[in-house]
């Protein structure tokens, strides 16, 4: 079974649980293969947690879930040192972050201090504790969810922190037919539990390495940079996309090309990914909208910008 078929199989596997959302499934795979982290932002009850769970179940990897609350402490994520009476030393007890796939549920409900402990792990892929560095296992992916509708008792992530996520996805409501299928399914509390793992952690790392070899043509890089540059020039935005954002878009484009069975990127890859990879990295100028953090608004501005950047022919 070659890599293209493997990826197709995983997509079909997850699609058995998440009905009618092939794009979302594809993008979450892209995030995984691009060694990125995923931020799912949507109203409650559309399957954010289920998606993360299904992805984790499709891979033969360790999976941990952290429910973020306002009284969660960094040590609840990273781990604690406990005094071992027999050895007369402190012993590090790894926290839930030491897993391949970590679901950080409702990440904006916890305090900034706790948030940052998670985010540092995300960018460094390692944990420093008591002057010791503990590398995290590979692959490592954080799938965070947040709820845009509730604002009471939340600590919104600042843009610099959001920058750590490769992409921000919306799941959206399913179509009526798909919703009907969900309802007609045999009642099960955890549909994802029934999925069979298709890939080992080693396989995932191997696929990630292959993504790095995807070819991006020079003019396509220029195109990507032109998009990034246009966000920095736009009067509608008070903050453009960072270099990390440009890097993320490039990696994601390669991963998408790979997921679609190509060994080279196309302008389509860049263009399709730009809204979901870039929209959480920008700040909409305050006068442009009543809710400056509105997801739709940012996406629409990015989309408009892309439509002005000429595609290399």
């Amino acid at each position: 079974m070659n890599s293209t078929e493997t990826i197709r199989a995983i997509q079909e596997n997850i699609a058995r649980v998440i009905k009618g959302k092939p794009q979302v499934i594809e993008m979450s795979l892209v995030a995984l293969l691009a060694r990125g982290h995923l931020l799912l932002e949507d109203v409650p009850g559309v399957g954010k947690t289920t998606l993360a769970h299904s992805l984790a179940r499709s891979l033969d990897c360790s999976f941990k879930r952290i429910q973020f609350t306002s009284d969660l402490l960094p040590s609840d994520i990273v781990g604690v040192s406990i005094f071992n009476r027999q050895k007369q030393t402190f012993e590090f007890m790894p926290g839930p972050i030491f897993a391949n796939i970590v679901l950080a549920d409702e990440i904006n409900r916890t305090t900034p201090k706790t948030q940052s402990s998670l985010l540092e792990a995300m960018s460094e892929a390692q944990i420093s504790f008591d002057n010791k560095t503990y590398p995290l296992s590979q692959p490592f992916m954080v799938i965070a969810t947040q709820n845009p509708a509730e604002y009471h008792g939340t600590f919104p992530l600042p843009e610099s922190q959001l920058d750590r996520f490769l992409m921000r996805l919306r799941i959206g409501y399913p179509s009526p037919e798909e919703e009907r299928k969900v309802l007609e399914r045999s009642p099960s509390l955890h549909p994802a539990e029934d999925l069979l793992p298709l890939l080992t952690a080693q396989d995932v790392v191997h696929l990630q390495d292959q993504v790095d070899k995807v070819f991006m043509e020079e003019s396509l890089t220029d195109y990507l940079l032109a998009i990034v540059h246009s966000t920095r020039q736009s009067a509608l935005l008070s903050l453009g996309v960072s270099t990390r954002g440009a890097l993320a878009l490039s990696r994601a484009a390669k991963a998408l090309a790979f997921v679609r069975g190509r060994t080279y990127c196309l302008p389509d890859d860049v263009k399709e990914l730009a809204p979901i990879v870039l929209s959480h990295r920008i700040m909409v100028a305050r006068q442009q909208g009543l809710r400056p953090r509105s997801f739709e608004q940012a996406e629409r501005i990015i989309q408009d910008l892309i439509d002005t950047v000429p595609v290399p022919v």
Partner: protein, 731 residues
């Protein structure tokens, strides 16, 4: 019609116009005319969109290297043409130009190709324009102009969409055909034609209103001529005084045909006056006759004074550059014999003054040959004789003056004998006993002459001259007053006199029985006005004035005749270059054949050396080309990378043609649309074409963005897909 197609069409029209111009104008060889004509027709049919021609052309593809070889061949042909066939630079150049045009026509891919085509067309139309003056050129040139305006317009209009595109497929990809912005609408069509006609009409207006070359019509308007006084038929005494302060340059005089008179004063005569009424001088002999034109542009004064014709005085040849003045008088040193210059007609009166028919509005340059009248020795002792009544009434006329003037005249000449001595006595008396000053308000007096002679004893040239004329007439010697300029300012950098308004002068001409009219000047030499400021400034001013004169000579006055002379020289030069090239080649080759002949056989006929020279010359050129090609090796040693890029280019061209075709069918690809995205659009709007478009796009993406080399079969498949796509008709 989309812009890019229209641009292609107008470009071909432009080329056609210049081609027709050349064909009718110079008589191209039949094969070249046929070749170019066919190329134009084929390309025209292609651009109109007749697909069968398109297919035909696609069948016989010549690679880029092939075209390069054709150009090299053409260039060699040019030399062969120049040296042996037409044996002249111009026809050979034109033949080569036509060949270049044919090659360009089949290679209109990039925007710079279009620019090259325009350049070739321009040179062609210029060449045909310089070779003919016939009427048929007018419609052809009008066509060229129309096509030119359209081409410019469309080239500019397609530029914006081009600039945003990339460089790999440099053909226009229109934005969105829906809104009709990028198509030639009837509205735009008429605006374009209107522009062309407007430009043409404006050119016509300019052609008829702006004067030819040297005439600075707008530079110096009619009303802006230098104001002079003292040269009309009647001159009040004291009229010259005010202008004696004006520094404007009136003319520049170069002397030729004799040693330069460094800085010595030169009298430049204007007009003479015979009648004095106590306040003003009048020229009663102002009746003017036309001068005889001896040769083109040279006019000769008739009616020589018989006494003078016996002896020949000194001839003075002057070249005068006269600024526009408000008087028709043509100035020259006395006495004028002939005038040559760009005049349609010249007039003169009996006193020897020369006039233009009307005051010139522009600067004129003319050459005058004058002859001064020497004093005949016989006149040193002779008395003033009796003159005929007609002569005496003019030059012995005396106004009603008081007796004091007559008494003074008699007193001065009492002790002298002979007319010449009397003249001298009066001149010396005036020069030494009166003070020169420009501040002499004598004009307001009732009797300005008496005021000058007896009361103030102060005046300037006019007063001196008037006094002398009247005093001479009192004692029976005919005399007249002359006005003109006394040139004293010598420009040593250009070797010419600068004459300014302040150099205006009046002096006397005395008639002596044997010599005739002799100029005399009673005015004392004026002390040079020392207040000319810094000498450095004076030097700079003179250098600048010289530069100005040269500018006028070599640029403003540069005429068609000069142009013709230059062309003749160039032609002679090119012929000599050709001959030299032939000679050197023949001598080189003959040396070569001599050696060769020595080796092969002892008796190579000398007669055949010329023929051998030509043969060996061709062989040498051929060898040089082979050597050059071998060094470049365009057919071998191509690296796979280069090959791949060529196939990439082929695929990119296919894709570009597909886009052009689709945009003609009404589905244009916006620049910001990605290729696969565009396939989606096609699927939605023209499902029949979807499979072909998807196939071509896939292969294109693979080659373009994946840098994965296409096989020949894939390229062929893409080609077939394109042809099948083109055979589809959109519903």
């Amino acid at each position: 019609m989309p812009f890019d197609q229209a641009l292609r069409l107008t470009s071909i029209l432009l080329a056609s116009a210049s081609f027709i111009g050349l064909m009718v104008g110079t008589g191209l060889p039949e094969w070249l005319a046929a070749l170019t004509g066919m190329a134009l027709i084929v390309v025209l049919l292609r651009s109109v969109g007749i697909s069968s021609v398109d297919h035909l052309v696609m069948r016989v593809p010549i690679s880029a290297t092939g075209w390069n070889l054709v150009v090299i061949g053409g260039f060699l042909g040019f030399w062969v043409d120049l040296l042996w066939v037409s044996e002249e630079l111009l026809p050979a150049g034109i033949h080569f130009l036509m060949l270049l045009m044919v090659i360009k026509l089949f290679n209109l891919k990039f925007r710079r190709d279009y620019l090259h085509l325009y350049a070739i067309s321009l040179v062609a139309i210029l060449a045909s324009g310089s070779l003919t003056t016939d009427l048929w050129f007018f419609p052809i040139f009008t066509l060229y102009l129309l096509a030119g305006v359209w081409t410019l317009l469309l080239f500019q209009l397609t530029k914006s969409s081009e600039a945003t595109g990339s460089f790999t497929i440099p053909r226009t990809i229109p934005h969105d055909a829906q809104d009709g912005f990028d198509r030639v609408t009837p509205h735009l069509f008429w605006i374009g034609n209107g522009l062309a006609i407007g430009a043409f009409l404006m050119t016509l207006v300019i052609f008829f209103t702006i004067p030819r070359l040297s005439a600075g019509f707008y530079q110096k308007g009619v009303g802006e001529n230098l104001r002079t006084s003292g040269f009309s038929d009647t001159v009040n005494l004291g009229a010259i005084g005010p202008i004696k302060r004006a520094p404007s340059i009136v003319m520049r005089v170069e002397l030729s045909g004799r040693p330069l008179r460094n800085g010595g004063p030169l009298y430049i005569r204007g007009v003479s006056f015979d009648r004095y009424d106590g306040k003003a001088w009048t020229n009663r002999l102002s009746h003017r006759r036309s001068l005889r034109e001896e040769t083109a542009g040279t006019f000769v004064l008739r009616g020589k004074r018989s006494t003078v014709s016996l002896q020949s005085g000194e001839t003075i040849q002057q070249k005068i550059l006269l600024e526009p003045l408000d008087t028709p008088v043509l100035f020259a040193a006395p006495f004028v014999e002939s005038v040559s210059g760009p005049f349609p007609n010249l007039l003169s009166d009996v006193t020897g003054s020369v006039y233009l028919p009307f005051p010139s509005a522009s600067r004129i340059e003319y050459t005058v040959v004058s002859r001064s009248t020497p004093l005949v020795p016989a006149d040193f002792s002779s008395e003033a004789g009796l003159y005929p009544e007609s002569f005496a009434s003019y030059f012995l006329q005396i106004p009603h003056e008081s007796e004091r003037v007559g008494a003074l005249a008699r007193e001065l000449t009492h002790a002298t004998r002979g007319a010449y001595e009397k003249v001298n006595a009066i001149q010396i008396y005036l020069t030494h006993n009166y003070r020169y000053s420009l501040d002499a308000p004598l004009a307001e007096q009732d009797h300005p002459l008496e005021e000058f002679l007896f009361t103030r004893k102060t005046g300037y040239c006019e007063h001196y001259a008037t006094a002398m004329v009247i005093l001479l007439r009192m004692v029976g010697i005919p005399a007249r007053l002359v006005t003109g300029f006394l040139a004293t300012e010598w420009n040593e950098y250009g070797n010419y006199y600068v004459v300014r308004q302040q150099d205006a002068h009046a002096w006397v001409e005395v008639h002596l029985p044997h010599s005739g009219w002799i100029p005399m000047d009673p005015t004392p030499p004026i002390l040079e006005g020392a207040g000319d400021g810094n000498p450095a400034w004076t030097v700079l001013g003179r250098v600048l004035d010289n530069v100005r004169l040269q500018w006028n000579r070599f640029f403003v006055q540069y005429s068609a005749a000069d142009q013709f002379a230059v062309v003749q020289e160039l032609k002679a030069g090119s012929t000599s270059v050709r001959n030299k090239a032939l000679d050197s080649m023949t001598s080189l080759v003959s040396a070569f054949t001599a050696i060769l002949g020595g080796i092969i056989t002892q008796d190579v006929s000398r007669v055949r050396i010329g023929f051998l020279g030509k043969t060996f010359g061709s062989v040498l050129i051929g060898l040089a080309v082979l050597l050059w090609l071998g060094m470049r090796q365009p057919w071998a040693g191509r690296s796979p990378g280069e090959k791949r890029s060529r196939q990439d280019q082929a695929m990119a061209n296919l894709y570009g043609r597909m886009l052009t075709y689709l945009s003609r069918q009404g589905i244009a690809k916006p620049t910001a649309m990605a290729p696969i995205e565009f396939v989606g659009i096609i699927r939605a709007r023209w499902s029949a074409a979807n499979a072909h478009v998807a196939s071509i796009t896939g292969l294109y993406c693979q080659a373009r963005f994946g840098h994965i080399p296409l096989t020949q079969e894939e390229l062929q498949r893409a080609n077939d897909d394109l042809h099948r796509l083109m055979s589809l008709q959109k519903l």
